[in-house]
Amino acid sequence: MLNIFLIFLYIGSIAFGGGWAVVGIIKDLMINQNYMSINEFKEILAVAQLTPGPIAVNMATYIGYKYYGLAGAILNTFFLVLPPILIILAYNILRNKINIKKDSLINSLKLGTAVLIFLTLYSLGSQFIINFDVRAIIIIFVTFILLVKTKIDPIFFIIGTGFLAILVL
């Protein structure tokens, strides 16, 4: 039980730039440590997006609930959000003692975030390239273009593609 909470404490401490940076890490850790199959992961990822709230927090709640019930849901969520709380507390204590160049730090964190999000993309998407799944690649590409070019809420794409998949897959 402690293991899964520690995993989410770790995930919470590296999630710079928001939840998408760690979705790939959640997938790899959960599947490699045999907590779930790829299909269960897809279920959790979809539910986390179709409910209000931040993606990583929702996934933590769902995974905690799935394995250890209500207490698991509360504790898992708590461990995920603990790192920023600790950092804010530490910052308040150390504020006058340390001197950090803020712009450089934020730029550097953005670089780190870019690496993490690329890895999320790789972790989620590389299977479609490796299997040369043309239909999936086309859908991914079209979704991406429409998301860049229009202001349609991503949730409509998620639901729409879900129904499309029932028809064509």
Partner: protein
């Protein structure tokens, strides 16, 4: 005594402000930021400039943008308890939504239609992740060192994900030092 009840009222107001936004915004963190801004400005709780200062701080914290924003704004408005009430307001709606859906879906998840639906959602998610990646890259100040560190990190981590935390810290520190950042104590 009267002061205490006034304080409680203010805390509840902060709680419900974030609760309402959290219920009404599906689609996660970034979709909520404009809603929070509008609600706070409308009630004159914070100046626009202050809001953007706080938003900038969330960029240097790990975790959900909206959760960190609620913590910092709650703290700014009403100290420790403000932070607690604001963040609980953000967290409670998705928490119960997840619990309800998680207990419902388990009885249907063997259905072939649900399986296909989830596969479709997953494919769209890859498209959405591409968008997130595109936006992050667009906001990066690109230079030679940046590109080199990015490629270095990606290549190492594609082969060995266990090093994620170590490589992340390594890249951030190197880039920070390169940009002339110092750590003075």
């Amino acid at each position: 005594m009267r002061n205490l009840s006034l304080r409680n009222k203010e805390l509840m107001a902060i709680f419900f402000l974030f609760f309402k936004i959290s219920v009404l915004t599906i689609g996660g963190g970034y979709a909520m930021v404009p809603s929070v801004e509008r609600a706070l400005l409308k009630k004159d709780l914070i100046e626009e400039e202050e809001f953007y200062d706080v938003l900038a701080i969330t960029q240097s914290l790990p975790g959900s943008v909206i959760f960190n924003l609620s913590l910092l704004i709650g703290k700014k408005l009403k100290g420790f308890w403000g932070a607690m009430f604001a963040s609980l307001g953000v967290m409670i709606p998705p928490f119960f939504a997840i619990i309800i859906i998680a207990s419902l879906i388990q009885s249907y998840s063997d259905s072939i239609y649900i399986q296909k639906f989830l596969e479709g959602c997953y494919i769209a998610t890859v498209g959405l992740t591409s968008l997130v990646f595109y936006k992050v890259i667009k906001n990066l100040n690109v230079n030679k060192i940046n590109i080199f560190l990015f490629l270095l990190g990606v290549i190492i981590l594609v082969f060995n994900r266990n090093l994620t935390f170590f490589i992340f810290v390594f890249l951030v520190v190197l880039n920070y030092l390169y940009e002339g950042g110092r750590i003075k104590c």
